[in-house]
C-alpha cells in the first residue's frame, strides 16, 4: 500500500503527458478560435467605398452568391504575406473576393493596393474598426466565408495559406453553392 504512494507521481504525470500529446497527435490547431458569429447573418452596417470607381459593402451585396470577405490593413505585415494568394484568387474568378480595410488611413490603403495589386471586387472601409467587432474580428488578417443567404459560415484567422484555401475554404464554398439551389 505504501508503495502505491510512491507510484502516484508517475500516474499523475502519465495523465498530464497524455493531455499534452492529444492535441499534437490529433493535429488540432490551437490557434483555431471558433467564431460566435458562425451561421449568423453578416452585420447590418454598410461600409463606405475605399477607392473611387469600386463600390463599398452593404449587407445586400453579400447575398445571392457565396463570397469571401477579407479584412486587411496596410500596416499589417501578415496581410502582405497572404496578398499574392489573394491576387491569384481574385484573378482566377473562382469565388468572389471582397475586402474590408480595417483601421487604416485611406491614402495608405489606396497606396498599398496600387503597389501590390487590388484583388477585391468591392472594398469597404472600416476606419474605426467598429463593424469589424460585429463580424467578430480579433485582428487582421482574417477571412470569412459568407453563404448565399448572407450568413457567416467560416472564419479563418491569420494569413490565408494555400493549404487552408485549397483544403478547407474551396470545398466549403462548393458545398455552400450546392446547398439550397
Amino acid at each position: 500500500m505504501a508503495r502505491l504512494v510512491y507510484l502516484l507521481p508517475l500516474l499523475l504525470f502519465a495523465a498530464v503527458a497524455a493531455y499534452f500529446a492529444a492535441p499534437i497527435l490529433q493535429e488540432k490547431d490551437p490557434r483555431l478560435l471558433p467564431s460566435a458569429m458562425i451561421d449568423k447573418p453578416v452585420p447590418a452596417q454598410s461600409l463606405p467605398p475605399l477607392v473611387s470607381g469600386k463600390p463599398g459593402i452593404d449587407p445586400a451585396s453579400l447575398t445571392g452568391e457565396v463570397r469571401l470577405v477579407n479584412f486587411f490593413a496596410s500596416w499589417c505585415g501578415p496581410c502582405r504575406v497572404e496578398h499574392p494568394l489573394l491576387m491569384e484568387i481574385g484573378a482566377s474568378g473562382t469565388v468572389p473576393l471582397l475586402g474590408v480595410n480595417y483601421k487604416d488611413a485611406p491614402a495608405a490603403a489606396v497606396n498599398w493596393l496600387a503597389q501590390l495589386g487590388d484583388p477585391f471586387e468591392r472594398i469597404g472601409r472600416d476606419g474605426d474598426g467598429r463593424v469589424a467587432i460585429d463580424w467578430g474580428v480579433y485582428g487582421v488578417p482574417e477571412t470569412y466565408v459568407v453563404d448565399k443567404a448572407g450568413r457567416i459560415q467560416y472564419r479563418h484567422v491569420g494569413p490565408l495559406s494555400r493549404e487552408a484555401y485549397r483544403d478547407i475554404i474551396l470545398p466549403l464554398v462548393e458545398t455552400l453553392r450546392g446547398a439550397g439551389g
Partner: protein, 663 residues
C-alpha cells in the same frame, strides 16, 4: 565552412554524449574504475564541442553570413551588434544550442570540481547529464539544425523580431536557461541517488549549491523578462499570468521548495525521498516550459513558431526524463532509509509546511495554465483562464506562507518553541501593524486589500530583520559583541535574510501596483494636456526619425507637477520595415515611489495621437525586491561552506554563537 565546422562539432558532441551516458553508468554498476573515469573527459569534451558549435553560429551572426538559413531568417546587416549576438538565441534553433551549451557547462563543472564526490556518484551524475545531452543534441540535429545552408543566399536577412531587439531581452534567455538547465543538476543528482539506492552525505552538500545557483539565475531571468514586458509591450503591467510566464514561474516555485527541502536533507538527513521527488518535478517543469513555448499546445503572446513535430519530440524527451525519473522513484524510493525524527513544531516542520504551501502554489499555477488544454481535450471548448483565477487562487495560498516565512527561521531544529518564537517576533508584529496603519491613514477610500497586503509585507520584513538581530543578540549584549557576531555570521544566513527581506519589498510593490494603479487613455493633439496623479503632461511635439533598422515617431511629453517641470518623457513608436512590425517604446519617469509611464499609439498631426499614461505606485520596488532576492542567492552561494572545491572547515567558530543553527 565555419558553419559546417559547427554542424560537425554538434554531431561530435552527440557521439561524446552517447559515450558519456553509457560507459560510466556501466562502469559504476560493475565497479570498473576505468569506465567510470571516462565520464570526466567526456563531459569536458562535450562542452568543448558544443562551445565550438555555439561559436560557429555566433560567428555566422556577427559576420552576417546570410547563406546560413537561420541567420538569414533572424538577422539583418544593419542590426546593432548587441542584437546580432543576442539574435543567436532569439530563435528556436539558436536557443536550443544555448540550452545544450549551458547543460554541458554544468556537466563540465561537475567534471572539473567534483573531486570530493564519491567516484560512483560522480560517474552516475555525469552519465545522467550525458543522457539529457543525447536527447537535446539529437533533437537539434534531427529537427532544428541551425547550420542549414540557403542557396542562393539572400542579399540581406529578415531581421530579428523587433520586440526582441531590446537590452532587457538580450540577456533574459541566457539567465532563464541557466535557471532551467541548472535544475538538471538537481535532477541528475536525484536520479543518480535513486540508481545508487542511497543518499550520500556528499549528495546533499552538492545538490544545494547547484539548486541555489539555478534558482538565483531563474529569479534574475524571470525578473528581466517581467521588466521587459513592462516597458516594451506598452501595456503598463508587469505580469500577465500568460502561459509562457507561468511556464517559467512553475519551476521557480518548485525550485524554491527544493531549495528549502535540500536544507533539511543537508542538516538533518531527513526528507530525502521528498527532495528527490521535488528535484525530478522541478526539472520536469523546466522541460515542460521548454515544451509549452515551442509546441503551440497553448497559445501565448511570446510563443515560438509552432511546429507539431518539434513539439512531439520535446514531449518525448519530457516523458523519458520525467517518466523515467518517476519510475525509478517508484521502485527505489520506498526502500530509502528514513532520516532523523523531529517534532511537528520545529525548523523541519516549518520547512515541510513551506514545501507543502509551495507545492500547492505550483499546482495552482499548473492547473490554471493547463486547464484550457484539459477542457479542450475533454469537451472541445476553448477558454482562457485569466488573471482573475490566479489572483483568487494563488494569493490565498501565499498568505499563510508569508506568515510562516517569518516564524520558521526562529524555530530550532528537531523541537521548536512556538510561543517563544512568537514572543520574539513582537518587532515584526509591530512593523506589520505600523505598515497597515500607515496605509490605512493615507488612503482616501477605505480599501482592505492594500492594508492587508502591507501588513503581510511588514510582518515579513520585520521577521527577517528580527531573526538577524536575534542571531547577533542585538541590544542584549554589548554592541561590539553584536558587531563581531554579525561579521562572523555565515554568508548563507545573510543570504536567507536578504532573500526574505527582498520578498517583502516585492510584495509591497505588487500590492501597491495592483490596487493603486491609475490609467488614462486620451487622444491628444499637439499642445494638449492630460492630468494623472497630480502630474500634468503636455504633448509638445511628435517627431519622425530614422534608426539603424527602423523608422520612429517620438513624442515629446513635458511633465509638470504643481507648475514645476519634472521631466520630459519621450515614448516612441517604431516601425521595423524588414519585419513589417510596429513596436512601442514606453517612456518611464521613475521616482523610487512610483513610475510615470507613457506610451503613444497610432495617430497623426490632424487627428491627434493615442496617448496612454499610467501612474504605477511602487513598481520600482518590484524589481528592487527581486534584485535583493537575487543578491541573497549570490551572497549565500559565496558562502565558504558551499563554494565548490573549497576545503571544508572542520571548526566553525561562529556556530556556537548562533544557537538557532547556521541557516
Amino acid at each position: 565552412m565555419i558553419a559546417e565546422l559547427g554542424h560537425f562539432a554538434l554531431a561530435l558532441a552527440l557521439c561524446i554524449a552517447v559515450v558519456q551516458s553509457v560507459l560510466p553508468l556501466v562502469g559504476a554498476a560493475r565497479g570498473d574504475d576505468i569506465l567510470m573515469s571516462l565520464a570526466r573527459p567526456a563531459a569536458s569534451g562535450q562542452f568543448l564541442a558544443i562551445a565550438v558549435a555555439f561559436g560557429a553560429l555566433t560567428y555566422g551572426y556577427v559576420t552576417s553570413d546570410f547563406s546560413i538559413l537561420n541567420v538569414a531568417q533572424n538577422s539583418h546587416s544593419l542590426k546593432p551588434m548587441l542584437y546580432k549576438v543576442s539574435g543567436v538565441w532569439g530563435n528556436h534553433e539558436g536557443s536550443m544550442i544555448l540550452w545544450v551549451l549551458i547543460l554541458s557547462l554544468f556537466g563540465f563543472a561537475v567534471a572539473a570540481f567534483g573531486n570530493n564526490l564519491p567516484a560512483s556518484l560522480r560517474a552516475r551524475v555525469l552519465s545522467v547529464q550525458g543522457m539529457i545531452g543525447v536527447g537535446f543534441l539529437g533533437f537539434i540535429l534531427l529537427t532544428s539544425n541551425p547550420f542549414e545552408r540557403l542557396n542562393p543566399a539572400p542579399l540581406d536577412g529578415r531581421d530579428l523580431n523587433p520586440l526582441l531587439q531590446d537590452p532587457g531581452l538580450a540577456f533574459h534567455p541566457p539567465m532563464l536557461y541557466l535557471g532551467y538547465v541548472g535544475f538538471s543538476m538537481a535532477f541528475s543528482f536525484a536520479v543518480a541517488a535513486l540508481i545508487e539506492g542511497r543518499v550520500d552525505p556528499a549528495w546533499a552538500r552538492w545538490v544545494r549549491p547547484w539548486t541555489l545557483a539555478a534558482w538565483t539565475a531563474l529569479t534574475a531571468g524571470i525578473t528581466l523578462g517581467s521588466w521587459w514586458a513592462y516597458y516594451e509591450l506598452g501595456w503598463g503591467g508587469w505580469w500577465y499570468w500568460d502561459p509562457v510566464e507561468n511556464a517559467s514561474f512553475m519551476p521557480w516555485l518548485a525550485g524554491t521548495a527544493l531549495l528549502h527541502s535540500a536544507i533539511v536533507v543537508e542538516k538533518r538527513d531527513a526528507l530525502k525521498s521528498w527532495t528527490i521527488l521535488l528535484a525530478i518535478i522541478t526539472f520536469g517543469l523546466s522541460l515542460m516550459g521548454t515544451f509549452l513555448v515551442r509546441s503551440g499546445v497553448l497559445t501565448s503572446v511570446h510563443a515560438f513558431a509552432v511546429d507539431p513535430e518539434r513539439g512531439l519530440f520535446i514531449l518525448g524527451l519530457l516523458v523519458v526524463a520525467s517518466g523515467g525519473g518517476l519510475i525509478l522513484f517508484a521502485i527505489r524510493a520506498p526502500s530509502m532509509k528514513l532520516g532523523g525524527m523531529f517534532q511537528p513544531i520545529s525548523r523541519e516542520g516549518g520547512l515541510i509546511m513551506n514545501n507543502l504551501l509551495l507545492s500547492v502554489a505550483t499546482a495552482t499555477v499548473f492547473i490554471g495554465t493547463l486547464y484550457p488544454l484539459f477542457l479542450d481535450a475533454t469537451t472541445g471548448e476553448k477558454v482562457s483562464v485569466g488573471p482573475p483565477f490566479f489572483n483568487a487562487a494563488f494569493v490565498p495560498v501565499m498568505m499563510p506562507l508569508i506568515l510562516l516565512v517569518a516564524v520558521g527561521p526562529m524555530l530550532a531544529w528537531k523541537r521548536g518553541d512556538l510561543p517563544g518564537a512568537m514572543a520574539r517576533l513582537w518587532v515584526a508584529a509591530a512593523v506589520s501593524i505600523a505598515a497597515a496603519a500607515f496605509v490605512w491613514s493615507r488612503q482616501n477610500d477605505v480599501a482592505l486589500g492594500p492594508v492587508i497586503g502591507f501588513a503581510f509585507a511588514g510582518w515579513l520584513a520585520g521577521g527577517a530583520v528580527t531573526e538577524w538581530a536575534e542571531r547577533i543578540a542585538l541590544f542584549r549584549v554589548p554592541f561590539s559583541v553584536s558587531l563581531s557576531r554579525a561579521l562572523g555570521l555565515p554568508r548563507a544566513a545573510y543570504g536567507m535574510t536578504l532573500a526574505h527581506f527582498g520578498l517583502a519589498i516585492f510584495i509591497c510593490g505588487a500590492v501597491a501596483d495592483s490596487f493603486w494603479r491609475q490609467e488614462v487613455v486620451v487622444n491628444a493633439r499637439q499642445g494638449e494636456t492630460v492630468s494623472i496623479a497630480g502630474y500634468d503632461l503636455t504633448l509638445e511635439k511628435v517627431e519622425r526619425a530614422q534608426g539603424p533598422n527602423y523608422q520612429t515617431e517620438s513624442a515629446f511629453i513635458r511633465v509638470r507637477r504643481g507648475g514645476a517641470e519634472v521631466a520630459t518623457l519621450v515614448p516612441e513608436r517604431r516601425f521595423y520595415p524588414v519585419q513589417q512590425m510596429p513596436t512601442t517604446e514606453a517612456a518611464i519617469h521613475s521616482t523610487f515611489l512610483a513610475d510615470l509611464y507613457a506610451a503613444i499609439g497610432e495617430g497623426g498631426a490632424r487627428d491627434g495621437w493615442t496617448v496612454r499614461v499610467w501612474h504605477n505606485p511602487l513598481v520600482p520596488w518590484i524589481w528592487t525586491g527581486c534584485l535583493i532576492m537575487v543578491a541573497g542567492g549570490l551572497v549565500s552561494l559565496s558562502d565558504r561552506r558551499l563554494r565548490v572545491g573549497a576545503p571544508r572547515r572542520r571548526v566553525q567558530p561562529d556556530q556556537a554563537a548562533a544557537p538557532a543553527g547556521a541557516d
